[in-house]
């Protein structure tokens, strides 16, 4: 630890030492060994977005087939594969990982830390995500694409599914779950231990609150989605009978386990995006969020309630009415925290002196307004006599896509327009961003709003075709047109990205005049994040009382007397704080770059691959390699030679 002494260290010397200490090796070695949360977050962003596009193309194939009745554009087999991989890709490789992407990038910055609490675990969670994605998509290259639905109901996916297709699914899902769990532990510890001094829990940015809540939800719900597919893989590969009714198993056990994860995951993937909106909207209204405590309470309450509603996916399975009605009422109860969140936003806007209609703000407001529709239809399907009609029809397709697109995809674009300048150092074009918004949001509503109607007039979900004469033609046509518009809107933003990159309009450290700590560093962010660890006295440290941006943001330059942590011996050092009020707790020596997270993930891939092809030797080698990688990973650290 070092307190900057103006007599001996000039700020320039200290800065040079920080750069030297925190930079990765150049080129390939640095690429594979980095543990920098920003590089990891950047990879998460790119990989998740690529999977978003892949999942989107799968959706477009389905929409094209459903444009008119009795179409023969794709075979029923291919349709069902697209159906399965669209849902699987979106949930496991996009919705759940884009929140980790922004979490990784933004959270350490927003709390004034230099890295995540466990940088190597952070690298591991990314590598595992990447390898699990490759594992799932390997199925395309061996012609065994999963086709049993992303919800994979047994026994269709066990006794009635041959070949490797559903083995890919079951093992791929278990694999990717490791990544989420590792990431969740990291976010929790980072939030509790790495906040800058003075950042009490009541000064914590709301995006951190929502990611913290989500991380606990991941820890509690992901065991179910690890266990269930593992049991499925056992049933399929080593002939156990967990789900086989004829031999005393129970197909409904699958559904309970699946939805015990499957409902919380919906809230897991929209709470952090609501957190992004909690950051974006105050910036462009120039005032703090209204009712901060209410917003925190609503976030945490949503997390709790999410574990009491999974049976509403199973109302039609024949459970006793009394049992089911508890879950029905709990599901109605979700309307309270959601309504609180929406009136927090409404109140914030109500007292705003001026609103700056940037592209990010447009996307954010568009997300809120669209999300309300999904929230309302969600309350409707909590009512059992109505759900028995709406369940497994296009009404539900409409509902869930409103929730997920407005609750995750639109906020993701808001976050792109808001935070990418911080990531890249240059601004995205505002005008193209606004065009992209309008096209996408009009597409969204054309795409999904008519599907409510389709469900009510009787169109079931997951059908590859439908006959003429049932009155479903017009709405399906409109829906496909909407899908095309939606895709065009996304495309405009992609074009915007590459165009803006060439134009390269420098962003500066705080282009929006925001109040939170991530804007107190340079853009793009220096490898060490903050030259001087900031001390926090307010929820919006960069804003003075009158809402004006503080002229000299903390953290960019080392100040005489500030806590700098730039040791001569080039350790990664950052501050540890303790207690809910973030008191100074000591100096943490952080692990540096390492190849072992990559090797651990690659070895895990080998083990899963061995299980997949029923090859005990490959499985054994994979497990052994995992153990060796983990030992090597920690050995260096324990003996200290790693520094």
């Amino acid at each position: 630890m070092s307190i900057l002494d103006p007599a001996t260290d000039s700020p320039r010397q200290v800065k040079e030492r920080l750069v030297e200490t925190w930079s990765d090796d150049p080129g390939t070695p640095g690429f594979f060994s980095t543990v920098d949360h920003k590089r990891v977050g950047h990879r998460y962003l790119v990989t998740s977005f690529v999977f978003f596009l892949i999942g989107g193309v799968e959706a477009l194939i389905m929409r094209a087939q459903l444009t008119g009745p009795d179409a023969n554009l794709v075979s029923p087999e291919l349709y069902n594969r697209m159906l399965t991989m669209h849902g699987t890709t979106m949930f496991f490789l996009f919705l759940g990982t884009i929140i980790a992407a922004w979490g990784n990038y933004i959270i350490p910055l927003a709390i004034g830390a230099r890295d995540m609490a466990y940088p190597r675990m952070n690298a591991l969670s990314y590598w595992v995500f990447l390898f699990a994605g490759i594992f799932l998509y390997l199925s395309f290259f061996v012609g065994a694409i999963p086709d049993g639905g992303w919800f994979a109901y047994v026994p269709l996916t066990t006794e009635y599914s041959e070949g490797l297709a559903m083995d890919f699914w079951a093992l791929g899902v278990v694999f990717v779950g490791i990544s989420s769990t590792v990431g969740a532990i990291n976010f929790i510890v980072t939030t509790f231990k790495m906040r800058a001094p003075g950042m009490t829990m009541s000064r914590l940015p709301l995006v951190v609150w929502s990611t913290l809540t989500t991380s606990f939800m991941i820890l509690l719900s992901f065991p179910a989605i690890t266990l269930a597919p593992l049991l499925m893989a056992f049933d399929r590969i080593i002939d156990t009978h967990f789900f086989d009714a004829a031999l005393g198993g129970d197909p409904l056990l699958w559904q309970h386990l699946f939805w015990f994860w499957g409902h919380p995951i919906v809230y897991i993937v929209f709470l952090p995006p609501i957190g992004w909106l909690y950051m974006i909207i105050p910036t462009f209204t120039g005032r703090p969020i209204a009712g901060y405590t209410w917003a925190v309470a609503a976030t945490v309450a949503t997390g709790f309630i999410s574990f009491g509603v999974w049976v509403h996916h199973m109302f039609a399975t024949g459970l006793p009415d009394v049992t089911a009605s508890f879950f029905s009422v709990a599901s109605l109860g979700v309307s309270f925290p959601t309504a609180v969140a929406f009136f927090v936003f409404t109140a914030t806007l109500w007292t705003a002196r001026r609103i700056r209609w940037t592209a990010a703000m447009l996307w954010a407001v568009g997300a809120l307004v669209s999300f309300v529709i999904g929230g309302i239809s969600g309350v409707m399907v909590a009512v059992m006599p109505f759900d028995w009609q709406a369940h497994d029809t296009y009404f539900i397709v409409a509902h869930l896509h409103y929730v997920l697109v407005a609750g995750n995809v639109l906020p993701m674009f808001a976050a792109f327009y808001y935070w990418l300048p911080k990531v890249t150092g240059w601004m995205l074009d505002e005008r193209l961003g606004k065009y992209s918004f309008w096209v996408t949001v009009v597409g969204l509503h054309l795409l999904f709003f008519p599907q409510h109607w389709l469900g009510l007039v009787g169109m079931p979900r997951r059908v590859y075709t439908y006959p003429e004469g049932l009155g479903w033609e017009t709405a399906n046509l409109v829906s496909t047109v909407g899908a095309a518009l939606f895709a065009l809107g996304v495309l405009i933003s992609i074009v915007n990205f590459f165009w803006s990159r060439r134009r390269h309009v420098a962003a500066g450290s705080n282009p929006w005049g925001a109040g939170t700590l991530e804007w107190a560093t340079t853009s793009p962010v220096a490898t060490y994040n903050f030259a001087q660890i900031p001390t926090v006295r307010d929820r919006y440290p960069l804003w003075a009382d009158d809402g004006e941006v503080v002229a000299d943001p903390v953290g960019i330059d080392p100040q005489p007397g500030g806590v700098v942590l730039a040791p001569e011996e080039e350790h990664h050092e950052t501050l540890e704080t303790v207690g809910l009020d973030a008191r100074y707790g000591g100096v943490l020596e952080m692990p540096g770059p390492s190849y072992w997270p990559l090797w651990t993930a690659a070895s895990t891939f080998l083990a899963f691959f061995g299980f997949l092809i029923h090859n005990a030797a490959t499985l054994g080698i994979g497990i052994a390699a995992v153990i060796v990688s983990l030992l090597r990973w920690h050995a260096g650290h324990i003996t200290g030679e790693d520094h």
Binding site: P155, G291, G318, F342, T346, A347, R353, V372, D392
Partner: protein, 345 residues
């Protein structure tokens, strides 16, 4: 109207009379507004039984309630975006205002929705028909339906006959994967789960043919797993039962007789039952009164001579993934086989 769920000594009668009339009125309004877009009310919005009627009533209540809430909130939100408060910022005043917003919109408003939906939810469940004046069995297969009636031999495929104005209890089972039994105009859906028997009560207030669908993803031909519920007046239903119990019609013409022989010698008889003949396979639908059916392959194609010929020669071309294999026939056997099948009234 929703209080009718719990009122009176004969809640169902009461409900039906009142709510059907109301439903018609609402339907008329909505139908006329939708006529412009070329849509008409069908499915769950055209209920023909008390169960579907309750769901439809709840839907219309929720639609107006949520439309009011959405429009009200949106108006507030838009005003919040366009208004520009000026003057000194009074922190305390702002906080009071914020609290009023959040408590009003986040606690009071959802309480109203929550309380009313809670009551409607429970009353709705309690008011659903649960009688068993007639009991039928429905069994799901990949990708068709079998219905068994209160007579040991009588089964039909993909067409379920029920008497009107009668509580018909349907016992739901599956022979393979999970399916879900749904007749949107009559009642909510219920799953067919391996190892379990679920029950559902159908009650049609009007004679007619109602579309039924499988609503649980059950494999490659989940989309073509439809059926029809044929509701007829009770006396007609009795008559139908008596007719159907009779074995299949004897072949009458020479062609039909040759078709009969072709059926028995080709692979057909291994999978299909025709009562009164040696054909006793149980893997596929019972064909005893096959010619009465309107559809082939659980709604995959209409039951006319052209489609039937195509279906027999290669079902995979009409319904790829169907469990019925192509039938190998001599060219001259096909027309007479069709003659025979068409005689099975």
């Amino acid at each position: 109207m929703l209080t009718t769920f719990a009122s009176g000594t004969q809640p169902r009668e009461h409900l039906r009379v009142r709510s059907v009339r109301r439903g018609t009125r609402v339907s008329a309004v909505v139908a006329s507004s939708l006529a412009l877009t070329g849509c008409s009310l069908s499915g769950t919005l055209a209920p023909r039984g008390p169960d579907a009627q309750i769901a439809a009533n709840i839907w219309w209540y929720m639609l107006w309630l949520s439309a009011a809430i959405f429009v009200g909130w949106l108006a507030l939100f838009v005003v919040a975006m366009v208004r520009r408060p000026t003057g000194e910022i009074d922190e305390e005043h702002e906080q009071r205002l914020h609290r009023r917003f959040i408590v009003g919109g986040g606690i009071v408003l959802p309480s109203i929705a929550f309380a009313s939906l809670f009551v409607i939810d429970l009353l709705g469940i309690a008011a659903l028909p649960q009688g068993d004046e007639v009991v039928v069995d429905a069994v799901g297969y990949q990708f068709w339906w079998e219905f068994a009636y209160e007579h040991p031999e009588l089964v039909t495929a993909n067409e379920l006959y029920i008497p009107t104005d009668t509580d018909v209890q349907v016992r739901l089972r599956t022979e393979d994967v999970i399916h879900s039994f749904w007749v949107p105009q009559l009642s909510g859906k219920r799953d067919m789960v391996p190892g379990r028997t679920n029950v559902l009560t159908l009650h049609a207030t009007e004679p007619g043919r109602y579309l039924g669908e499988c609503t649980e993803f059950c494999g490659v031909q989940h989309a073509n797993m439809r059926f029809e519920v044929v509701a007829v007046p009770p006396d007609e239903y009795q008559q139908w039962l008596d007719d159907m119990v009779a074995p299949a019609a004897e072949p009458q013409t020479e062609d039909q007789r040759r078709g009969y022989d072709a059926f028995m010698t080709a692979s057909c008889a291994a999978c299909h039952v025709i009562r009164g003949t040696p054909a006793d396979g149980r893997a596929g639908p019972d064909l005893t009164h096959f010619a009465q059916r309107r559809w082939l392959g659980a709604g995959a194609a209409p039951n006319d001579r052209g489609h039937l010929g195509g279906w027999v020669v290669n079902p995979q071309s009409i319904k790829p993934g169907s469990t019925m294999p192509p039938v190998e026939l001599d060219a001259e056997d096909l027309p007479v086989l069709l003659d025979y099948l068409e005689s099975l009234e």
